[in-house]
Symmetry: D4
Amino acid sequence: MTLKVYLSGEIHTDWRARIIEGARGLDVEFSGPVTDHAASDDCGAAILGEESDPYWRDHKGAMINAIRTRKGIRDADVVVVRFGEKYRQWNAAFDAGCAAALGKSLIVLHPEEHQHALKEVDAAALAVAREPEQVVQILTYVLTGRLPGRD
Amino acid sequence: MTLKVYLSGEIHTDWRARIIEGARGLDVEFSGPVTDHAASDDCGAAILGEESDPYWRDHKGAMINAIRTRKGIRDADVVVVRFGEKYRQWNAAFDAGCAAALGKSLIVLHPEEHQHALKEVDAAALAVAREPEQVVQILTYVLTGRLPGRD
Amino acid sequence: MTLKVYLSGEIHTDWRARIIEGARGLDVEFSGPVTDHAASDDCGAAILGEESDPYWRDHKGAMINAIRTRKGIRDADVVVVRFGEKYRQWNAAFDAGCAAALGKSLIVLHPEEHQHALKEVDAAALAVAREPEQVVQILTYVLTGRLPGRD
Amino acid sequence: MTLKVYLSGEIHTDWRARIIEGARGLDVEFSGPVTDHAASDDCGAAILGEESDPYWRDHKGAMINAIRTRKGIRDADVVVVRFGEKYRQWNAAFDAGCAAALGKSLIVLHPEEHQHALKEVDAAALAVAREPEQVVQILTYVLTGRLPGRD
Amino acid sequence: MTLKVYLSGEIHTDWRARIIEGARGLDVEFSGPVTDHAASDDCGAAILGEESDPYWRDHKGAMINAIRTRKGIRDADVVVVRFGEKYRQWNAAFDAGCAAALGKSLIVLHPEEHQHALKEVDAAALAVAREPEQVVQILTYVLTGRLPGRD
Amino acid sequence: MTLKVYLSGEIHTDWRARIIEGARGLDVEFSGPVTDHAASDDCGAAILGEESDPYWRDHKGAMINAIRTRKGIRDADVVVVRFGEKYRQWNAAFDAGCAAALGKSLIVLHPEEHQHALKEVDAAALAVAREPEQVVQILTYVLTGRLPGRD
Amino acid sequence: MTLKVYLSGEIHTDWRARIIEGARGLDVEFSGPVTDHAASDDCGAAILGEESDPYWRDHKGAMINAIRTRKGIRDADVVVVRFGEKYRQWNAAFDAGCAAALGKSLIVLHPEEHQHALKEVDAAALAVAREPEQVVQILTYVLTGRLPGRD
Amino acid sequence: MTLKVYLSGEIHTDWRARIIEGARGLDVEFSGPVTDHAASDDCGAAILGEESDPYWRDHKGAMINAIRTRKGIRDADVVVVRFGEKYRQWNAAFDAGCAAALGKSLIVLHPEEHQHALKEVDAAALAVAREPEQVVQILTYVLTGRLPGRD
């Protein structure tokens, strides 16, 4: 059993690397958005031509990014969405909504302070974690039945 | 042709009333979440029993609210999502994600200042508006072919 | 908004009547299985002919009952499944599984003593209640936003 | 043709091992739940933190187990559900309901004494067997056309 | 609960009339193919122009008939397929296959002599009857819980 | 049986009116795009604001029109697509592709001269007609079994 | 591109072997029912126990065969259904109906004499052929673009 | 992550070769229609027999081509549709409609002069490009995050 896991959301810390590193040896295929912030913002204009209006510039970029995002989420068994401490992160919540509507197993990762504001998102999740290492433990358990600190 | 329209998101201004009022006479059925903030927060505990842990209190409430939200979004032809000026509004973005994944026609309503932060959500929409009256004009046009200021 | 509610499970107490009575005045359409135990057991043999082997006798009856059950669950927005104090009630759990797989909003109703044994079923539910009156309160809240004891 | 087979239900006897062993050499991929009872009960608390209320403790565990169960059942061509002689086994019936609603080929395995109580579940199945070896014979026949005792 | 019932198959006896007459007073909506044999054969040529090749003449007619058949089967809750004593009736078996693949509740009606030849079709059905009156009894039971000869 | 029919394509002749008029008395609900060419082109700019770039002006309009088109096609049982003698009419072919992919019954209406160029579209259709009156005859036959010139 | 092709229907001639042999070298995966007639009839009784009533004996066998048939048809891109000169072959027409309802590309293979009786089945097909070699030519063309007698 | 890309539309220039060549080294699987114009027109008659009526000759060919087209589009993650400078190209727009209705990521490639006529098709796309090299850049970015002219 290969588990396909899409890692959505916050791109400013190393949480994806910690999960991928921690899951080494498990039968998991990870995917996720382009995490190079500048490339992600510029892709539409760089490939399809500049726009004078920033709305349409963003629009062209967001739609190209959607090619990757849609593919990743639709193919996934598990979607992990991380909300960080800063920014509005509406695209993270948007991805969580997509994942829920498509019947994906949703894992949400956020600091405790966001608990009330994220209650609708959490209510659609099968697990709500604080640290990337907990996600690794979940993936380990789901694939092998092993729990941390037990043999 | 009856158009079913779900009005999601911000609950602190009168935007829903302005749309419903403006659409009077059109063949539209509106639905939306419970907009009584206190009831929405308390419904789980009030009906199913109090919880000492605020996380589970919120969880029980959010899940009961999901019964209404799911029904409304799934039955809708058009989902209008309004992002206001305050708060994180992750549930609005979550609803937009659900609507997009279910293939609903999505209309997003937000002030200009949110344009960059909402670019992924806007990219999934068929219309991005600033004012509730524009939503009324869209519904009028979609149902009757009439544009504002023309006969 | 009309809510379609299927009432599955235990047929030996008056819980269905209490919900239907309590929901009087709400925009709800209820459905459920045939609750005449003898008719439900005999329908296959009575209509399609007796069987010497009790397995096939049960089989013919269960399949005719499935015509009604499938229709009720598939058309429902909300499936309420009640587990009573006696019997194995595997058909109740089977209906809950169907409802969950079809993305229905699931409400489970059971005495506290079954909590551990029903944990997988409860985990798929949007509400877990003890009394039929709580289901009435949920339906009231979902349709009108009103909570018990508030105006 | 690779047949994906999910083995659901009773975890106290060696029936899964007997099927997997018997099917050696056939083009079958087996999956199933975590069968370590203690790990299965504890996974939520062990990974995501203890809960004082046993209901929420069970809830967290059941939801993590659902990540594996959902994946296994959705990917399966055939779902085998075994009901043993003891316990209520509502999760087995719940899995059978999921499998039926998703259109999976369902094989039910149970002792004769449960025949009447399981009639709704059996009515949704393509085969009802008593012994794991019969499941092996079914898988052999489905994949190779060979019947027991014939060449 | 309104039950939508599509009556497919044999068009040379009065079985449809007997079911519709017998179900008078029940909340059932019946549909079925055009049963005027000549019109059914000629519709393509009569409306879209004659064809010199009988294959294409039949083709044009069969495709126009499919507009009605598809609509009826897709909208139905229950599909009743009757196999008579004569002719090959491949379109009846074709409709049964469509109904099964779409998850409709299938009732098959045929004389005993066809039992072995129809075993694959019967195996996909929830009821196999001999007489139209049994179909009426099934519909009566499914909608009201009443069995023949009981009050 | 109410048949929902979407009338897509050419907007410069009176073919829609001829079908709707001819179908008077039949149980048909018609829908279609906004056929006021100027309104259809201008709707985006008129409601959501002018654009300096004609591409984005068209884009905004086309997306608002899609709200109506999607609703009409998805709700339809039958999609009639008319290709006229002039213009490229790519939106007509696009609608036909949508209809085919959604499993709608497709009727194509075009002059003989387009036969080779439209062969892929025609191959997805259940009827290919030359005149609107033939569509009326098809709808009449599908709903009533009556053919032109017969009683 | 691997094409998955299910070969349904008549089991008394060598048509499957001729197609499989002819398609050697093409990227095709073939599947089909168990073609050992005796095994196919006996499988239910041989594995799950004899039945005194021939109806239930057939029923058990047909349901086990359905495990293989469902898997093959659902996984297929193309379903080829062959109607031979003898027998009623209702299971062939049933498979064709399943394939059509699931949106599979259907190829029908039958002698000219069945043309009128099979017109509804043919109308759902993308190709109607007389000889297995034509099916090989279709598969060759679909996968490579090569036509017989051309380079 | 392997991206499956279907290349639909214009067959008279080398745009497919330029994309496939440019994407060398990326994890992409390309598919597309048969681009040998004569073979594509003749396939029906060559395999299934000549027709005297050119309509049916085209029909048989178009349906065989649909076996390949359906498979390619349904399996694709991304559908690229190219509109050239000549011909009506209704099959290109038809494929775009199919792709949109199936939720595929659509990329449209056309000269600027077609902008207004293709506005409905463009409105369903995630990218609208002028040159095949832009499609290569999109695929490169989607799979690797690299933009042209950046490291």
